[in-house]
C-alpha cells in the first residue's frame, strides 16, 4: 500500500507534470528547430509568434463563445485554432516578405538573421500587447480533468491523489502526433525533401528546379502552425500571458539545441530532457522515502539534492553534460 502511495506521489508530482511540460516545450522547440533546419537561423521571434497566435485564437474563442458555440468536452479554442493559424501565418509571411527576404537575397550570415529576428521579436512583442494586452487570460473550457486528485483518493482509498488534466493529455497527444507528422513530412514527402535540400545547399536546390520562395513560404506556414498550436495548448494548460511566452523562449531553445537542431525527434527528446531534469533533480524525496522506508529510516530533512532555486541551473548543467558527450545534441543536429 505504501509502495503504491509512493508510486502515485511520484507519478503525480514528477512523471505527469514533467511529461506534460516536456510536451509543451517540445511543441515550441519543433517550430524553432524547423526554422533552424530549413532557414538556418535561430528564430528569436518564435516565442512572440506563439503569443501573437494564441492572442488570435483567444479572440476567436471569445467570439465563438459569445455565439454560443462550444466543443463539448474539448476546449472551444480548438475550434478557433485554424483561424488563429491562418491569421498568424499571414502575419509571419508578411514579415518574411518585408524583412527576412532581403537578407536571404543578400546571403547574410546566420547571425545577422538572428539579430534581425530579435528586431522582429521586439516589434511583435509590442504588437501582441496592443492586440490582446498584458494581462493574464484564461480561456480554457471543456472538461478539466481526466483524473481528479480528490476523486482518485476517494475511489482508491490511497493517501495520495493523482491528477491528470485534460489539457496535459491533449498536449502530450498533440506533441507526439505533430512530431510524427513533421518527421514524415520532412523525410518522406517531396515538398519536405525539397525543404531539406534547400537548407543543405541552396544553389544546388536552385539547379534542381526547386523554387526557394515556395520552400521558404511553406516553412513559415508550418512554423506558424506549430507556434499557434504550441501556444494555445500551453495557454490552455497554464494561462495566457504575453510576457511568459517570451520567457518560454529560453527553455524552448535549450530543448531544440540539446535535442539536435533541425531534428524533430530531437525537439521531443530535448523537451523531455529539460522538463524531467528540472522537475526530477530538485524533487524532494522526503514523501516518497517516508512511504517506502521503515519508520526508523525516514528522513528528517527534505531529502532534496538541490533546492528548487537551482532548477534552471540544474537543467542547464545536465544539458551541458549531455552536449559534452553528444556535441551536436541527442539526435545529431546541424551546425552552421
Amino acid at each position: 500500500m505504501d509502495l503504491l502511495n509512493a508510486v502515485v506521489a511520484l507519478l503525480n508530482f514528477v512523471v505527469i507534470p514533467a511529461t506534460a511540460y516536456g510536451a509543451q516545450l517540445a511543441l515550441g522547440a519543433l517550430g524553432v528547430t524547423l526554422i533552424y533546419g530549413i532557414l538556418r537561423f535561430s528564430n528569436f521571434a518564435h516565442g512572440d509568434t506563439m503569443a501573437l497566435g494564441t492572442g488570435f485564437v483567444i479572440l476567436v474563442t471569445w467570439w465563438l463563445q459569445s455565439m454560443g458555440v462550444t466543443f463539448g468536452v474539448l476546449p472551444t479554442a480548438f475550434l478557433a485554432l485554424p483561424f488563429g493559424i491562418a491569421a498568424t501565418a499571414a502575419v509571419v509571411l508578411l514579415t518574411d516578405r518585408s524583412v527576412y527576404r532581403f537578407y536571404r537575397k543578400q546571403r547574410a550570415a546566420p547571425v545577422i538573421l538572428v539579430i534581425v529576428s530579435m528586431g522582429v521579436m521586439f516589434v511583435m512583442n509590442g504588437v501582441t500587447r496592443f492586440v490582446i494586452g498584458v494581462d493574464e487570460i484564461r480561456f480554457a473550457d471543456g472538461a478539466k480533468f481526466l483524473i481528479n486528485a480528490n476523486e482518485f483518493k476517494q475511489s482508491t482509498g490511497l493517501a495520495e491523489g493523482l491528477a491528470f488534466k485534460a489539457s496535459q493529455a491533449q498536449t502530450i497527444v498533440t506533441a507526439i502526433a505533430v512530431v510524427a507528422l513533421l518527421f514524415w513530412f520532412l523525410n518522406k514527402t517531396r515538398t519536405g525533401k525539397s525543404m531539406r535540400a534547400y537548407s543543405d545547399n541552396e544553389d544546388l536546390a536552385l539547379l534542381s528546379g526547386i523554387n526557394p520562395e515556395r520552400v521558404v513560404a511553406v516553412t513559415w506556414i508550418i512554423a506558424s502552425g506549430l507556434a499557434v498550436i504550441a501556444g494555445t495548448l500551453y495557454g490552455l494548460d497554464k494561462s495566457f500571458k504575453a510576457f511568459n511566452y517570451f520567457q518560454l523562449l529560453l527553455p524552448i531553445f535549450a530543448s531544440a539545441i540539446v535535442g539536435g537542431l533541425g531534428s524533430p525527434l530531437g525537439a521531443i527528446a530535448g523537451g523531455f530532457l529539460i522538463a524531467f531534469s528540472e522537475v526530477g533533480f530538485t524533487y524532494a524525496w522526503k514523501k516518497v522515502a517516508t512511504y517506502v522506508l521503515p519508520e526508523s529510516l525516514a528522513p528528517d530533512g527534505l531529502a532534496q539534492l538541490l533546492s528548487t532555486d537551482y532548477k534552471f541551473a540544474v537543467s542547464f548543467a545536465i544539458l551541458i553534460v549531455v552536449l559534452l558527450f553528444k556535441p551536436t545534441g541527442l539526435f545529431k543536429g546541424k551546425a552552421v
Partner: protein, 439 residues
C-alpha cells in the same frame, strides 16, 4: 578609419550633443544630465561590445552567456569595496565557510585525479563515490556555515561583506573573476560548435546568475546591495562644499546641476580611459600576426589546426580575454550604479542587447562594435520616451474620446519595444553587415 566611419562617429557624438543641448520638439532631452548619462552608459556598452566582439568577431565563438560574466564582474565591487561585516568573521562563520569551500575544491580535485589515474569500471565507481560522498560532505560543512552568516542582520547584511578597499581595485578584480570562470568553462565546453556552444554558455550564464541570486552569504542575493562606495565624490557633498559652490558660480551654474554634471563627467573620464586602452590594445592585436591567426581559425578550424595552430588553446585565450572585458564592464557598471542587483541580470538585456550592438555595429571590427555600443544604448534609453510620443503623434488625428485612441494610449509604453525593433530593422536594412563592416 575612413571618412565614412569618422562621419558615423561624428554623427553619434552629434546625437549626444543634441540630447544635451536641445529638445527639438521632444525628440531630445535637452539636458546635459541625460546626455552624459547616455554617454556613460554608451561607454560601458561599448566596452561590453568590445568583449563580445573579441569572442565572436575574432574567433567565431558564439558566447551567449555574456550576462553571466558581466554579473560576475559586478560581484567584485561588493566583495572589494563594501565594508567588512566583522561580526560574521568573529562568530566564525567565515572560517567555516572557507573550510567548506576548500573541502569542496578538494573533492573536485580528487575526482579529476581519479579520472586521470583510473580506468574502466573502477573509475566509474570511484568517481561516483567521490562526487556523491563529496557533495554530501560539502553540504554538511557548508550549510551550517552559511546559516551563521545569513543569520546576521538579514535586513541589511546577512552576507560576508567586502574588504573595504578602494572601489577602483574592483575593476581588475571583476575582470579576473570573469576570466577565471571563462577558463573553467572554456576547459570543458569550448569543443562545442556554434549554437551548441551558445546554449552551453547560456546555461552557464544562468547558473552564475542563479548562484548570485540565491547565495545570500556572497552578496545578499536578490536582496541587493545598495550604497556601494564610489570612486567619485557624492553630489550632495559637492553641493555642500563651499569650494564647489564657488566653482559652480564661476560658470554661473546652479550647484545642484553642476554637481550632477561634474560627477557624470568624472565617470565619463574614467570610462573613457579604460575604453581607449582597450581599443588600442584590441586594434594592435587584431592587426598583428596574432589577429591574422585568429581570423584563420575563425575561417576554417580544420585547416588552421592542420597548419599548426593550436585552435583549442587560442579559443581558450580569446574566450578568457573577451570574458574578462565583459567582467570589467560589469564591475564598472555596478560601480556607477552603486547598486548590486542580481535580479537585473536578464539575458535579453545583458546578452542579446550586447549582441545586437556588435552585429549592428559590424562584427569583427572593433570600431564597429564600439559604435554599435553607443548607438544601441542611445536607442535603448531614448525609445522609452520616443515610443509613447510617437504614438501620441500618430493618434493625434483620432477623436480624443475614441476607444481606439484610449486603448492605444494605455498601451503606449509598449511602443518602446516596437520603436527599438523598427530602428534595429532599419539600420540592418541599410547596412546589413553592420555600420562599420569588417573590411
Amino acid at each position: 578609419m575612413n571618412m565614412r566611419n569618422i562621419l558615423l562617429f561624428a554623427g553619434m557624438a552629434l546625437l549626444i550633443v543634441l540630447e544635451g543641448s536641445t529638445t527639438f520638439g521632444g525628440l531630445f532631452g535637452g539636458s546635459w544630465n541625460t546626455a552624459l548619462f547616455i554617454l556613460n552608459f554608451g561607454l560601458l556598452s561599448a566596452i561590453m561590445a568590445l568583449g563580445v566582439n573579441m569572442q565572436w568577431g575574432y574567433a567565431g565563438l558564439f558566447n551567449v552567456g555574456v550576462v553571466g560574466f558581466i554579473a560576475l564582474g559586478g560581484l567584485a565591487p561588493v566583495l572589494i569595496a563594501t565594508p567588512p561585516v566583522t561580526e560574521v568573521w568573529t562568530t566564525g562563520g567565515v572560517g567555516r565557510l572557507i573550510f567548506a569551500l576548500i573541502v569542496g575544491a578538494g573533492v573536485i580535485a580528487l575526482a579529476i585525479t581519479l579520472n586521470h589515474r583510473l580506468r574502466g569500471k573502477v573509475r566509474l565507481v570511484a568517481l561516483c563515490v567521490t562526487l556523491i560522498g563529496g557533495f554530501f560532505l560539502y553540504r554538511a560543512l557548508f550549510d551550517p556555515a552559511v546559516e551563521v552568516i545569513e543569520a546576521f542582520n538579514p535586513a541589511t547584511n546577512s552576507n560576508l561583506g567586502g574588504l573595504g578597499l578602494p572601489v577602483l581595485l574592483a575593476w581588475p578584480v571583476g575582470a579576473a573573476l570573469a576570466a577565471g570562470a571563462a577558463w573553467l568553462i572554456g576547459k570543458t565546453a569550448l569543443g562545442l560548435r556554434s549554437d551548441y556552444l551558445a546554449i552551453a554558455t547560456l546555461g552557464i550564464g544562468e547558473i552564475i546568475i542563479a548562484t548570485l541570486k540565491n547565495e545570500d552569504w556572497l552578496a545578499r542575493g536578490v536582496k541587493n546591495v545598495i550604497g556601494i562606495p564610489r570612486p567619485v565624490p557624492y553630489e550632495v557633498d559637492l553641493q555642500s562644499s563651499s569650494g564647489f559652490i564657488e566653482f559652480a558660480a564661476r560658470f554661473g551654474a546652479d550647484p545642484v546641476v553642476a554637481s550632477t554634471i561634474v560627477v557624470k563627467l568624472l565617470y565619463a573620464v574614467l570610462f573613457l580611459v579604460v575604453l581607449l586602452v582597450l581599443i588600442t590594445a584590441s586594434e594592435l592585436a587584431l592587426r598583428s600576426p596574432w589577429g591574422r591567426m585568429m581570423r584563420a581559425i575563425r575561417d576554417n578550424e580544420v585547416a588552421a589546426e592542420a597548419m599548426g595552430k593550436n585552435v583549442t588553446g587560442r579559443h581558450l585565450q580569446i574566450f578568457m580575454l573577451g570574458s574578462a572585458v565583459c567582467g570589467l564592464a560589469g564591475a564598472m557598471m555596478v560601480t556607477m550604479d552603486s547598486l548590486h542587483n542580481p535580479g537585473t541580470y536578464n539575458p535579453l538585456r545583458f546578452t542579446f542587447l550586447i549582441w545586437v550592438m556588435v552585429i549592428v555595429g559590424g562584427s569583427g571590427n572593433n570600431w564597429g562594435a564600439m559604435l554599435g555600443g553607443f548607438l544601441i544604448s542611445f536607442l535603448w534609453l531614448k525609445v522609452e520616451s520616443w515610443g509613447p510620443a510617437g504614438l501620441e503623434y500618430l493618434t493625434s488625428g483620432l477623436d480624443p474620446a475614441s476607444p481606439l485612441r484610449e486603448h492605444l494610449k494605455d498601451s503606449a509604453a509598449h511602443m518602446r519595444l516596437i520603436a527599438l525593433g523598427l530602428v534595429l530593422l532599419l539600420v540592418l536594412r541599410f547596412s546589413p553587415r553592420g555600420l562599420i563592416p569588417e573590411k
